[in-house]
């Protein structure tokens, strides 16, 4: 199978290498990555009138196999758009795998997540797509820690590609870090809603007396107006279950719309 793996950290990151290593054993894999950090870029797109710089890496080798690799300077969504719209236009991948992301996207985190942004972009292009994330580790994970997650993806890759999901849907797969594959307890389908992180700021003053602000992600304040309830998804995840959530890019609130139509068109 022809698979595209996309990552936002860099081509040398353990997250990308472990996944590409496992998948390239049986499949034809192409990898692409951004240069430098690109956290929380969401679906940002360079409409600015500037072109996107990219480079094909000729000597990218994993486990002795040479793999086509590209690195980009742009946004995550740009990268997927160029890969599918130009570089792989005539040999479209049967599956796009975004990740493994160092950090998971729960609830409304999906709007600003770079990994989900890439997955959504692939869904816009009508290519089956999964976004894979593991809990965040500052500085990145070791390859050995990520191996069980990569093995799970490699084992089910055909099923992911052939799952007959609606065209506006992609999968968000959240995998716990375990020591060995047997430690996984099972696979569940669930929403991971309402346990989202909020952006708050740390205020500081520089040597000239100017204020500046560092963004930090904190747990949602329980006093926020939306009701907060821990979902089943998260409690199972903590017991080493892998959680899959089918997400759509069509966010129209249909029930609310029907009510609105009745009132407005009266």
């Amino acid at each position: 199978m022809n698979i595209l793996i996309a990552n936002v950290r860099n081509l040398e990151s353990a997250e990308l290498k472990v996944l590409a290593g496992e998948l390239s054993k049986k499949h034809s894999v192409t990898v692409c990555s951004l240069e430098g950090s690109a956290r929380q870029k969401g679906n940002a797109f360079s409409y600015s009138g500037f072109p996107i710089k990219y480079k094909q890496i000729s000597n990218y080798v994993i486990n002795g196999t040479r793999i086509p690799a590209y690195k980009f300077q742009g946004t995550p969504a740009d990268m997927i758009s160029i890969m599918l719209g130009n570089i792989m236009k005539h040999r479209k991948p049967q599956l796009v795998i975004c990740g493994i992301s160092n950090g998971i996207s729960l609830g409304t985190d999906v709007f600003c997540s770079s990994n989900i942004g890439m997955a959504m972009q692939a869904a816009f292009n009508n290519v089956p797509c999964i976004a894979v994330g593991v809990p965040m580790q500052l500085g990145g994970h070791k390859e050995a820690d990520l191996l069980p997650a990569a093995q799970f993806i490699a084992k089910n890759v055909d099923k992911f590609a052939k799952a007959k999901l609606p065209t506006d849907t992609f999968l968000n797969v959240t995998i716990p870090i375990v020591k060995k594959y047997d430690d996984f307890q099972g696979v569940g389908i669930s929403s991971m809603d309402n346990l989202t992180k909020m952006t708050r700021y740390l205020e500081k003053v520089d040597c000239k007396g100017n204020k500046y602000y560092w963004a930090q992600l904190v747990e949602r304040d329980s006093s926020a107006s939306a009701d907060v309830s821990p979902t089943a998804g998260m409690s199972y995840f903590k017991k080493n279950y892998i959680i899959m959530a089918p997400l759509t890019y069509n966010s129209t609130d249909v029930a609310y719309l029907e009510q609105m139509q009745k009132e407005v068109l009266k």
Binding site: S37, R39, Q40, G42, A44, S46, Y47, P51, I52, Y54, Q56, T75, A77, I82, L84, G85, N86, G107, T108, V110, F111, C112, G117, Q121, F124, N125, N126, N156, F160, K162, A163, K164, L165, P166, T169, L171, Y181, G186, V187, I189, T196, M198, R200, Y201, N210, Y212, Y213, W214, A215, A224, A226, P246, T248, N250, T252, D253, Y256, L257, M260, V264
Partner: protein, 256 residues
């Protein structure tokens, strides 16, 4: 009402200024918007790259203007956490001179800021229009007047934990209002590859906006109604989980 205004085009953009001038007649308004143009910024946030700076500029008709040297969503998050003294009752984003409909909403800073506002628990409305002469404040006046006059109506139809995406057609007729859903359009971006004199490769986007096929009009969603000259209103939810896909996913037999 206390209203926070923001956009993706910058804090001095005529679209946001026109809106502020109309809204400040009856409400307490504050602008917190990016310092520079951030078209296509989507929901990006400046996190571990660098810190943010905010600056307060002149006061226009009682409207305080703040700029933030970051993305549109940085502006909302920073305004709510640090810059504003009181929590606003409502966030209005725009006026964007380009319509944000269909799947394009995710790359739009205007809709994304409204989503960020809703995530933070505040009623948010995204306003976009079709403005030929983007630089002229006068061109936005009709849309700004409509928003100010019908604010109560718009607020009433904004979901509590969601966003109201309002698009205006080229010729605004205040009576033509249509609540409708997002058009599902597929993306087929084309790029042209160029090698510069230093031997580096670049990809140029050839079609700058999402192209909708003919079937997109048949869906009779926002794209169709805008073409028919209607003001479209689309309620957006924050939970993207697709319940209908669960059965298909179960059938796929994904297991350990």
């Amino acid at each position: 009402m206390k209203i926070l205004l923001t956009n993706e085009a910058g804090c001095f953009h005529p679209g946001i200024v026109a809106l502020a001038k109309e809204l400040c007649k009856d409400h307490r308004v504050c602008i917190v918007a990016p310092l520079t143009k951030q078209v296509g910024a989507g929901h990006s946030l400046t996190v571990d790259q660098r810190p943010l700076h905010a600056e307060q500029w002149f006061v226009l008709d009682n409207v305080k203007i703040w700029s933030v040297d970051g993305t549109p969503c940085d502006c909302v998050a920073l305004a709510l956490d640090k810059l504003l003294l009181d929590k606003p009752d409502m966030i209005i984003t725009g006026i964007d001179p380009v319509n944000n409909r269909g799947n394009m909403i995710y790359t739009s800073g205007v809709v994304s800021t409204a989503i960020e506002g809703a995530i933070q628990g505040i009623k948010s409305i995204a306003v976009s229009a079709v403005i030929a002469n983007e630089k002229k404040e006068r061109a936005y006046r009709k849309v700004a007047k409509f928003v100010a006059r019908r604010l109560e109506f718009l607020a009433k139809h904004t979901p509590d934990y969601g966003v109201l995406n309002v698009n205006f057609p080229e010729k605004v007729k205040p009576k033509n209002i249509m609540p409708t859903h997002l058009t599902d359009g597929l993306l087929d971006n084309e790029y042209e590859i160029e090698v510069n004199p230093f031997g580096s490769t670049f990809a140029w986007l050839k079609s700058p906006l999402m192209e909708f096929g003919l079937d997109a009009y048949e869906q009779k969603a926002d794209l169709y109604w805008l073409k028919q000259g209607y003001i479209t209103m689309t309620p957006l939810k924050l939970d993207l989980l697709k319940g209908e896909a669960v059965t298909a996913l179960q059938k796929a037999g994904i297991k350990l």
